[in-house]
């Protein structure tokens, strides 16, 4: 079974703090993703990575950065947390298929971040 773990289930931070969200997968997946989930908006892609040290912006990268130093670990960084970054953050990973081929994303349990 694919296992994706996230370092914290709940986090409370103050405005302006630097926040690190960690994600680890144990299936040797090349691709890893960070999403945020907000009511009525579904999941929105923040950043993704298709290899170690590689990263690509998703749909809403502003205010975030990422780090992928090892294949199994993908970190999301909020350089200076703001209240509008209060959200549920979900990490996912997948094994890359050929273009057009199937590629299921497997998700971690999520981190609920509250920025005060």
């Amino acid at each position: 079974d694919v296992k994706v773990t996230q370092s914290s289930r709940y986090l409370v931070k103050r405005t302006g703090e630097k926040v690190f969200l960690e994600c680890v997968q144990d299936m040797d997946h090349e691709n890893m993703f960070w999403y945020r989930q907000d009511p009525g908006l579904g999941l929105r892609l923040i950043y993704f990575s298709y290899d170690v040290k590689m990263k690509e912006k998703g749909d809403i990268p502003e205010g975030y950065s990422v780090s992928r130093e090892k294949k199994e670990r993908f970190s999301l960084i909020l350089e200076s947390a703001s209240t509008n970054q209060t959200s549920m953050y979900l990490c996912a990973s997948s094994f890359p298929g050929l273009a057009g081929a199937q590629e299921t994303q497997y998700f971690g349990p999520g981190t609920r971040l509250l920025v005060l």
Binding site: R9, N31, L41, G42, L45, Y50, S94, Q102, T104, Q105
Partner: protein, 116 residues
Amino acid sequence: AQKVTQAQTEISVVEKEDVTLDCVYETRDTTYYLFWYKQPPSGELVFLIRRNSFDEQNEISGRYSWNFQKSTSSFNFTITASQVVDSAVYFCALSEVIYNFNKFYFGSGTKLNVKP
């Protein structure tokens, strides 16, 4: 324009009722994948099913069934004889190839409440 539309924000049923969750998608690609995920109160998105655009056969898995109709761009999900444990938020997603990467587009989710 939204790629994936789940028009039902929230549905409430009584246990043992059948319920259908609607999903309408939009794409210009001929090759794409459709997914359903379940998000129970614990938060983790659980993969339920993946269908490719060339396979319009309906699928049944226990109490779950899926109806894929390309003519109406819909991929609906039916739960037969619903149970309290089915209570969750259900997401429909579309995967398209962007360069060599399969990008996921999620609907906004349908919250299903199954009452005893």
